[in-house]
Symmetry: C2
Subunit: 208 residues, 2 copies
């Protein structure tokens, strides 16, 4: 089996721009990608492809880089169509994901295992027969992917994990990284922000 | 073992007031409480106490009501101090929680099983020896509860579930209920809101 990670460093994570500069966001996504690569390798997955519109930030990465300037869905669907054997599609912004999550996900006894992201997204999809499936990211992709599996009469499982479902797109997501994370991506954010604790949920405060 | 649910209907869920009226919020918390009670009963937990500052909304509930006007922490700690046997503390705003989550949580082989909430909160705590423990809700209660367990040299487990960790406090949380939920609490929200699907996360739109 292979893992495939869509990735773009240039101008990454624009929804974090209220709290992180362009340079910081680009440094941070690189640390998150490294975290995902470490988790994959610790789970025993050695064949890793990164699909990116540019080599920027991937010059020295320990994975195969596939350059594709197409839209995320087009690029991934072209990849899936040609794939031989099972494929794990995995987003690059999952710093709470561990090797044990990955091992469980790829051990699914269904045709497909889907890990939702926050707000209706999809963080990982494990496909035993990738050429049977087309992805449809953006918006409520989790429901779209469940519907595609149903329409194709493929059995699927929804993997229920807070940590695997925490993708980092918005400032509040950084709170989850500080509370539940460890490692370089968490350390990077921990240098820059404090918790602000009130009676409601924890919020971020920049460190002056 | 017993389950205890802190609950307040009057003026509930003020952070949902941008999208739901007072009457709607009070109706909605009642539906969420019913959902939690159904999950507990389906998990075989029959001894259920509800701690509330008022009988309002609990006139016909199928559980024992303990009236206590004290602060959440004071009321729960007084309850724990007197408890005989294991206690599951469970919040009333968990409409994605199922009986199978509850069965797994109360089967923990540690002294304590903690289920985090969004933004550093705590959604459930299972305590084998409740009189050994004091709760500290509000703010980053998840980290506080882990620290209390460590300070008392109690073994603990963090239960990793997106569904059990989804407490409903803010408008974005209703998206998770629409995407992942079923039952009356989900139906109630589904009558009032549509998805707004863009390239980012799903947002709510009121139905005109």
């Amino acid at each position: 089996m292979r893992a495939v990670i869509p990735y773009k460093k240039a101008g990454a994570k624009s929804r974090l721009s209220p709290v992180l500069s362009l340079r910081e966001r680009e440094e941070f996504v690189e640390l998150m990608l490294s975290s995902v690569l470490r988790a994959l390798k610790a789970a025993g997955i050695e064949k890793i492809d990164i699909i990116s519109p540019s080599i920027y930030g991937l010059e020295e990465v320990e994975a195969q880089v596939i350059l594709d300037e197409a839209d995320l869905n087009e690029a991934l669907n072209a990849y899936l169509e040609k794939a031989k054997g099972p494929v794990l599609i995995i987003m690059a912004d999952l710093p709470l994901l561990s090797a044990s999550h990955i091992k469980e996900i790829v051990s699914s006894n269904k045709d497909i295992c889907i890990v939702p992201g926050k707000g209706g997204g999809t963080n990982l999809i494990f496909l035993k027969n990738p050429s049977d499936f087309q992805v449809k990211y953006y918006g409520s992709s989790f429901l779209a992917h469940c519907a595609i599996a149903e329409a194709k009469a493929l059995s699927f499982e929804v993997y229920d994990s807070l940590l695997a479902s925490t993708d980092i797109d918005e400032p509040d997501d950084l709170v989850e990284l500080l509370v539940h994370g460890k490692g370089p991506a968490r350390d990077y954010i921990n240098q820059k922000f404090n918790y602000e604790v009130s009676r409601g949920r924890v919020k971020l405060n920049p460190i002056e």
